[in-house]
Subunit: 124 residues, 2 copies
DNA sequence: GTATTGACTTGGACTTCGTCCATCGTAGGA
DNA sequence: TCCTACGATGGACGAAGTCCAAGTCAATAC
């Protein structure tokens, strides 16, 4: 655990943040000015493979990193401004995929992404 | 309808292809050697906004284009090789999101992406 | 105490994917 | 025939992310 890794982990400390790698870098730089971009990417990658952080792909734009990895949830993304909210739909989407629709795949997970407009963007 | 657009539409003619923009360009070039990358992107963008083709974001890599836009379906993606299959789960994921979890958003759609390993990658 | 080792970090080059823009060509109308 | 406008072209550009050689640092070995 180096200072750099601690800073990256701290930046992702909140439960409800969804930062891009650049935003993480920006905030990490504020605390540790000499941290490099490669280190931020390396550390984020490790946190993801440790299962501490979830990568959220938001359609062409930069990936976002979600530290709320221990509570299963899905995402609701605003098509206007890109804002993300964690949501908790009912039902188990994995159970909805019958074996006949699995084509021999070993299915390990499922992501559900709701899209729409947030109240601010809907008004505009 | 120009020759270039016809070629792009033809390349996406099959019901079960999921090409990247580069693969579309490659196949279009085979039929019309002087077609340019910008034209392929323009045409794909128009097909998407016409609702004839769906954009599939596959996790950091290049977007894929799915001509099977008129039959609602979801995707099963191999984490190993990136292969995509169309799948048809039961249930309606939109209905699973109660109003209390919508945070005032105008929810317009939902994507469900199953992830796993295809038989070939699982064997390796 | 010094040398060695290995893990981590750095910064810059590089790649990939995609967009933008000035210019060119061509088909159809005046 | 000439004009006009739309679409195509290709090259420059930009964002996001990866790679790599070199540097730093701490722990272990001698």
């Amino acid at each position: 655990m180096t200072a750099q890794r601690r800073v990256v982990a701290e930046v992702l400390g909140g439960e409800h943040v969804h930062f891009t790698a650049d935003e993480v870098l920006e905030r990490a730089t504020a605390r540790l000015p000499e941290i490099s971009r490669a280190t931020v990417y390396n550390t984020l990658g490790e946190l993801v493979s440790l299962g501490e952080v979830i990568e959220v792909a938001t359609d062409g734009r930069a990936k976002r990193y979600d530290p709320n990895a221990h509570h299963p949830h899905q995402h609701l993304i605003c098509s206007g401004c890109g804002a993300i909210r964690d949501v908790h739909p009912g039902g188990d989407p994995l159970a909805e995929l019958p074996a006949s629709e699995r084509f021999g795949f070993t299915v390990s997970g499922v992501e559900v992404t709701y899209r729409g407009l947030c109240p601010d963007c809907a008004r505009a």
